[in-house]
């Protein structure tokens, strides 16, 4: 078994497109509720935001205060419109850096101002937007590249570094999630999934069916321990090249997130995690890449592939 890296520039395109689609989905579901969510007359009012205010970061309530904005509805609607336009540009890879910066800035302001309302999904979107800003995502499958007519590729050692950061970050996420559960009574006795699907906020149309299955203790235990095993061991096993293990593991975690989306209704969380998984390790699914296909993204794909192979001591 040899350690292996899975590098391909397409993974950076997956990151950019996945993040942009996530932002658009977030805007789509929140647009009608902006006043209730993020205004001083909404569900989180000054009485809560003021004591929790952090002095050293930019946040939405601070911006509203600073500019003395009276019509919060108009401001929030305009802000989210700009957010949406920036996300569309990011999706297409047009003015990519500016678009990524605008998306990150708006998300950061909302997140820091109303982090009581935030859940896991927002944190991951924040992290991935930051990577979208600092990594050269505009160099792959983008309008920026087409307009410039550039054939310049990302230096393989740089690409190696960017993808390694994503990969290590993802491994830290899974290992922390698994490690913090390990020892918890419900996770150890195999009832955690039963408990989770019984929470009213995770009710979906599939819940009755899954509940009838998970009411058999062994099924609940398999699902609970399966989740724990994937989270604890994914960060180690994904680095080992042995048969189709890497691809199976990646598909395993993606199935876990699809299950979370379908059964627990956490579609946004599941989606951002799938984007994270594919942008970090998506290369394992394409060990024998179709070079004609890759050439669409990268005009020097043949030589490029050779360079990467040389760097990693193996072919993707």
């Amino acid at each position: 078994m040899k350690p292996v890296t899975f590098n391909h520039a397409i993974q950076l395109a997956v990151l950019r497109i996945g993040v942009a689609l996530t932002v658009l989905a977030k805007i789509w579901v929140e647009f009608d509720q902006l006043d209730m969510l993020f205004s001083q007359h909404g569900i989180i009012q000054e009485v809560l935001t003021k004591p929790l205010d952090i002095s050293y970061v930019i946040s939405l309530p601070k911006v509203i205060d600073f500019f003395g904005i009276q019509n919060e509805h108009l401001f929030l609607t305009s802000l989210y419109t700009v957010f949406g336009l920036a996300a569309c540009f990011l999706l297409l890879g047009f003015q990519t850096k500016i678009s990524a910066f605008i998306c990150l800035l708006i998300h950061l302001m909302v997140f820091n101002g109303y982090n009581l309302l935030a859940f896991g999904f927002d944190g991951f979107l924040f992290s991935l937007l930051f990577y979208t800003l600092i990594f050269p995502v505009e160099k792959v499958f983008s309008f920026d590249r087409l307009i410039k007519g550039s054939t310049e590729v990302i230096a393989p050692d740089r690409l190696n570094l960017y993808l390694r950061v994503l990969q290590i970050h993802l491994c830290i996420v899974y290992f922390t999630a698994g490690f913090s559960k390990f020892g918890g009574q419900e996770w150890m006795n195999g009832t955690a999934i039963w408990k989770a699907i019984n929470q009213p906020q995770f009710y979906t149309e599939l819940t009755p069916f899954v509940k009838s299955l998970a009411s058999y203790p062994w099924i609940s235990a398999v699902l609970t321990w399966g989740t724990l095993t994937i989270e604890l061991f994914f960060p180690f096993l994904i680095w080992i090249r042995w048969g189709k293990m890497q691809a199976s593991l990646l598909i395993g975690v993606i199935i876990m997130h699809v299950f979370i989306a379908a059964v627990m209704g956490l579609q946004m969380f599941a989606w951002i995690m799938i984007v994270f998984d594919l942008s970090a390790f998506g290369g394992v699914l394409f060990r024998k890449p179709n070079l004609r296909f890759l050439a669409i993204f990268d005009r020097k794909s043949n030589t490029y592939e050779e360079k990467i192979s040389g760097l990693n001591g193996c072919r993707n």
Binding site: L116, K181, Q201, S212, S215
Partner: protein
């Protein structure tokens, strides 16, 4: 040189991700916490990733019973994941687990209810959690979850 700087920054970033993840127990230190918080507030690196741990626990739900026009009783529930507003509200409810916070949230819910129903009379607010049946009970009789009230209050718009 530029590559080395970038590499150095990304290594530092990953260190902050590890330190902020809660994987390692580091004694409470305000300076240390402040650095992690500052860094995560600007870059998104340094958040905890311990979802549903160490146990899943019961999520808090708010139920309201409002008398409209002295004759109709309207029932609403918050924190049950109906839409994005409800999901995010559920996140707030789940953050605080003390009586004072429940009272504060009850007032927020009451103000929402009075805005939603302009003809509302008194509204009774009940905060609690749903206790699942045992697997055996569910398998044998499809027994429903039981609501256990933690905090309640009656509010009127003046």
């Amino acid at each position: 040189m530029k590559h080395k700087l970038l590499k150095g920054f990304l290594i530092f970033h990953l260190c902050m991700v590890v330190l902020g993840s809660g994987l390692m127990e580091i004694s409470e230190n305000k300076i240390y916490d402040g650095i992690i918080l500052r860094y995560s507030s600007w870059t998104g690196g340094g958040f905890g990733y311990s979802f549903f741990s160490p146990n899943v626990g019961n999520q808090t739900v708010v139920k309201t019973y409002t008398l409209i026009d002295h004759k109709t009783l309207k029932q609403d529930a918050f924190g049950a994941g109906k839409d994005i507003l409800d999901c995010r509200f559920s996140s707030v409810l789940h953050t605080f687990r003390n009586h004072k916070a429940y009272e504060l949230m009850s007032r927020v819910v009451a103000s929402y209810i009075f805005a939603k129903y302009p003809d509302a009379g008194p509204t009774y607010i009940s905060i609690g959690e749903y206790m699942p049946p045992s697997m055996n009970e569910y398998r044998l009789s499809r027994k429903a979850n039981r609501f256990r009230e933690i905090c309640n209050g009656t509010y009127t718009y003046k």
